[in-house]
């Protein structure tokens, strides 16, 4: 999973002053043991139609009873998204489909549990959260025969109701997103928050986190244009690609004198384009009305506040802390990656053990890619290595080798490993002599480098590292070459 880094923006710039307006509707499956309205297990990947019961199948006489844990997780998420949590109601959304057992979905309509939140993106960009409401998932249809994999033209369809009734929260952003980068950052940050508060495993590949993207374009400062909703956007990468494709498509239509129809479009990841799924005139009339089988869901201030008190430190605050500790930019890739992996506590431990925080950050990012758990290496061993490198007792390359060994052995004294391997950083005067020798041996490369061709430096550095048998510090070599060029 890529991260929302502060790397230079790759966002598509639309021509002729067009601007994208993007809103996201993200569905996440809550990580509960049982379903939203029944005691069937909420578990992905089981044999079809095993996690079912009369409520899930919509059998006559079966009644829904709200899952307290699902409500708690929804509130946790809402609070983490700075929402107001309120007393809420459920409605029925009525439509016929074979994977909707009751022929209505129980969802929150005009009185959702979480409203009016926001999320901050890099560069102090504030994205409003309109609502984050509870609803039940549908079953899953698989269509056999035919070519499209869709129900039309298929020979038969099978329905798996294991997913039916799984608790979902739908998080609806305000149309505050202005480019594909921000959209990716939004989804990525939402995922981090979901993981941090334990609301969902947020696996887009398993469908426990699903994005619908609303895209429109306008000339800057003008009212919103007509939007299209894009479905089937199943990865963060696809979020960006679908937005860029769709915005360009809309601009092309408008610039050639056409108009945008409000419609639902399907993202085809293999073709890299969107197709019309249905236009608004075909939209169902869902005949929403208050679900009479449920009562007002009022969590009460006391419960909400106890949930608030139990929230962990959220990713944004943890990034700020890590940034302060290590001096790295809070929007840097390293900071994002380490917090996403949950290894910021470990970096702190290394620092507490006397280690140099900035190098600790780099080591942890390099050496421990496993997410979610802190490395088994004693923090003091890593701390020792940071000091060895800081004091130029070993080069960066040597430090990397030592780090690999420490990780492989689950610990080890950095100084002892360095001594055993015969590592020692050469002193600057020795390196300087090698630099001079390399310049004399490769005058062409030196001339090109002096002429501003930065790549030419590589040949010189390579020669010096070779003659020093890896003991020269690459950073020192580079600095010397730059200094001699003047």
């Amino acid at each position: 999973m890529s991260n929302a880094s502060s790397a230079p923006s790759h966002a598509t710039i639309l021509p002729n002053g067009w601007e994208m307006v993007i809103g996201l509707e993200v569905h996440v499956e809550l990580d509960t043991k049982t379903k939203l309205f029944s005691a069937s297990p909420n578990h992905f990947g089981d044999e079809p139609n095993t996690n079912i019961d009369p409520v899930t199948l919509g059998l006559p006489g079966a009644l829904p009873v709200i899952n307290r844990r699902a409500v708690e997780l929804a509130i946790r998420l809402g609070l983490a998204l700075n929402c107001t949590v309120q007393a809420s109601t459920f409605h029925r959304k009525n439509y016929f489909y074979q994977d909707l057992a009751k022929a209505y979905q129980i969802t929150q309509y005009d009185q959702p549990i979480n409203i009016d939140g926001f999320m901050m993106l890099p560069g102090d960009v504030r994205i409003g959260i309109e609502r984050a409401h509870l609803e039940e998932d549908t079953g899953k249809s698989t269509h056999f025969g035919g070519t499209s994999g869709r129900i039309h033209g298929s020979d038969y369809s099978l329905v798996d109701f294991n997913r039916a009734g799984v608790p979902l929260v739908e998080i609806v952003s305000r149309p505050d997103i202005r480019n594909a980068d921000q959209a990716r950052q939004y989804v990525s940050e939402l995922r981090s928050i979901l993981l941090a508060v334990g609301a969902s495993d947020a696996k887009m590949e398993e469908g426990s986190m699903r994005c619908d993207v609303n895209v429109s374009v306008r000339k800057a400062g003008e009212p919103f244009g007509t939007r299209c909703e894009i479905k089937n956007v199943n990865s963060i990468r696809a979020v960006g690609k679908a937005i860029d494709y769709e915005a360009r498509r809309q601009v092309d239509v408008l610039e050639s004198g056409g108009t945008i129809r409000q419609e639902t479009r399907h993202w085809d990841d293999s073709e890299g384009r969107t197709h019309t799924l249905r236009v608004k005139e075909d939209a169902d009339d869902y005949r929403y009305f208050l679900e009479p089988d449920l009562v007002l869901l009022d969590p009460g201030t006391e419960w909400v506040e106890s949930i608030r008190a139990s929230l962990p430190v959220l990713p944004a605050a943890r990034r700020a802390q890590l940034s302060q500790l290590t001096g790295a930019d809070k929007e840097s890739e390293a900071v994002y990656v380490i917090v996403e992996r949950g290894q910021d506590d470990y970096v702190q431990l290394v620092a507490d053990a006397g280690g140099e925080p900035a190098r600790a950050l780099v080591y942890v990012q390099q050496a421990f890619s496993e997410a979610g758990s802190n490395p088994a290496v004693p923090a003091k061993d890593l701390a020792g290595l940071t000091l060895l490198e800081r004091d130029a007792k070993v080069t960066a390359t040597q430090a990397k080798t030592i780090l690999s060994e420490i990780v492989a052995n689950g610990g080890g004294d950095a100084g002892a490993i360095a001594a055993a391997k015969g590592f020692e950083a050469l002193d600057t005067s020795a390196v300087e002599a090698m630099v001079d020798a390399a310049i004399a041996a490769q005058p062409d490369a030196w001339a090109k480098y002096c002429g501003g061709e930065e790549k030419a430096m590589g040949a010189l550095v390579g020669a010096i590292m070779k003659s020093s048998q890896g003991k020269a510090d690459g950073k020192v070599v580079t600095a010397l070459l730059q200094k001699k060029r003047g």
Binding site: V65, A101, R287
Partner: protein, 475 residues
């Protein structure tokens, strides 16, 4: 008690005292079924075999000194819209023919735990939509007191089963009067409890915000006993009230002295004079017993029927959408999914059900919601306000249960609006979520029974039962 049959209380006592056995009691009821069921058609399904096994097991347990509950050995019939595990539950609809629920409704479990013997599933208007039990896909039920007449509906089978002595008591469901009106027309007691007092879990929904299960019995004391068994909180029904049933059997002898009985100052048109005469007699009896009569007004009463026929069909259109042929019940194969839905529902539902599904779908549709469903919800609030004001000056309200006595089969089937008027006095209770019951109080035209309806506020059952017991003593 106006019937020749033995009450639940007497059956329980006789079995307990060893004067008779559950099996003997059951056989007496099964013998009556054998004799008259073909003519009356109270049942969709008689469960003679399982009932005999249950009765034998109860007898064995009682003989061994085991406690089997307050209804040990009492034969009870269930309206065929209550789920019974492994036993067909049809709602008198072709669309559910052959479907066997994998679970019992909460009321069924509670009856069984109390020692009741379930004798069968009774006929009803399809999905409880009707007032005569003529809308059953399996043919009408006839009134045991005059088989040329209807038993009322929609719980006509349950009312007839008790009136004919096929069961000592039965359960029905009441969405707009479907317990009280057939009770009145068949001359038995029928109770519509406060919304939420009896679990709806396992009751096949018609209109979820109005539906409530209640008993049919020969006596007021029997009804009180059944209420105490089937009522009370159920964690499987979110609309179930979180409190125990008030004690009802204990209050029956307390009388009505000092009680204030409300009387509608403006009686709606269309009541038979004999019905109004019986109502006057009921007021006189309560007055004689020490109550005072107070005139009250329910200004929104005239809007209730219209509001009901928007709210109930709207909820029904959603509740009945699940009968799509995909998972259970009838399926009529067709070229594709959409036409299979259409063909299945066209073949599976009767005319009245289709009429209400269309009415309800329309009332909820974009552009019509505010004018119809939204306005109907306002009427619900208005009638609740009316009742709140009325109960400032009275404890209960007395009305006829039905404007007429049981009418001949076929008389109203061609005109749905006339049929809907049967519910004029019963509907407001459901819209408000209150309690009400019908008590037999003599006879009217054609010597058919007349029921008097006692209306009480939410949780007003103790007061309501005291009045019912007094009327029973006076009748």
């Amino acid at each position: 008690m106006t019937s020749e049959f033995v009450s639940v209380v007497d059956i329980v006592g006789s079995i307990r005292e060893g004067k008779t056995t559950a099996s003997d009691v059951l056989e007496q009821h099964l013998a009556r079924i054998d004799k008259r069921e073909t003519e009356i058609h109270a049942f969709n399904h008689v469960m003679a075999e399982s009932a005999r096994a249950n009765a034998a097991s109860i007898d064995a347990d009682l003989k061994a000194g085991k406690e089997r509950g307050p209804l040990a050995g009492v034969p009870i019939a269930l309206k065929d819209n209550m789920c019974t595990r492994g036993v067909p539950t049809t709602c008198s609809s072709k669309i559910l023919e052959g479907w066997k629920p994998p679970y019992d409704a909460t009321v069924v479990t509670r009856l069984q735990q109390a020692g009741a013997v379930i004798v069968g599933k009774t006929n009803l208007d399809e999905f409880a939509m009707g007032s005569s039990t003529e809308n059953s896909a399996f043919g009408p039920t006839r009134n045991p007191l005059d088989t040329s007449r209807v038993p009322g509906g929609s719980s006509g089978g349950s009312a007839a089963a008790v009136a004919a002595g096929f069961a000592a008591a039965s359960l029905g469901s009441d969405t707009g009067g479907s317990i009280r009106q057939p009770a009145a027309l068949c001359g038995v007691v029928g109770v519509k409890p406060t919304y939420g007092m009896v679990s709806r879990q396992g009751l096949v929904a018609f209109a979820s915000s109005l539906d409530q299960i209640g008993p049919f019995t020969h006596t007021v004391a029997d009804a009180a006993l059944l209420m105490e068994v089937i009522g009370g909180h159920d964690p499987l029904d979110s609309t179930s009230l979180d409190q125990p049933v008030p004690s009802l059997t204990a209050v029956l002898g307390q009388g009505v002295k000092g009680m204030r009985i409300g009387r509608l100052a403006d009686m709606p048109d269309g009541c038979e004079p004999e019905v109004l005469a019986r109502l006057d007699a009921a007021f006189a009896a309560l007055k004689a017993a020490g109550a005072t009569i107070v005139d009250i007004a329910l200004p929104s009463l005239s809007y209730c029927l219209t509001a009901y026929y928007l709210v109930a069909p709207a909820e029904a259109s959603s509740n009945l959408a699940r009968y799509d042929g995909v998972r259970y019940g009838l399926r009529v194969e067709s070229a594709d999914l959409i036409s299979m839905y259409g063909a299945t529902r066209a073949a599976g539902f009767g005319a009245e059900v289709k009429r209400r599904i269309m009415l309800g779908t329309y009332a909820l549709s974009a552009g019509y919601y505010d004018a119809y469903y939204g306005k109907a919800l306002k009427v619900r609030r208005l009638i609740a306000n009316d009742f709140a004001a009325a109960y400032q000056s009275c404890d209960v309200i007395l009305t006829p249960t039905s404007p007429t006595v049981a009418f001949p089969i076929g008389e109203k089937t061609s005109d749905p609006l006339t049929m809907y008027l049967c519910d004029i006095f019963t509907i407001p209770t459901n819209l408000a979520g209150h309690a009400a019951m019908s008590v037999p109080f003599g006879t009217g035209a054609h010597s058919m029974p007349v029921g008097v309806q006692i209306l009480a506020p939410a949780l007003g059952e103790p007061t309501m039962f005291r009045v019912a017991a007094e009327l029973e003593r006076a009748s």
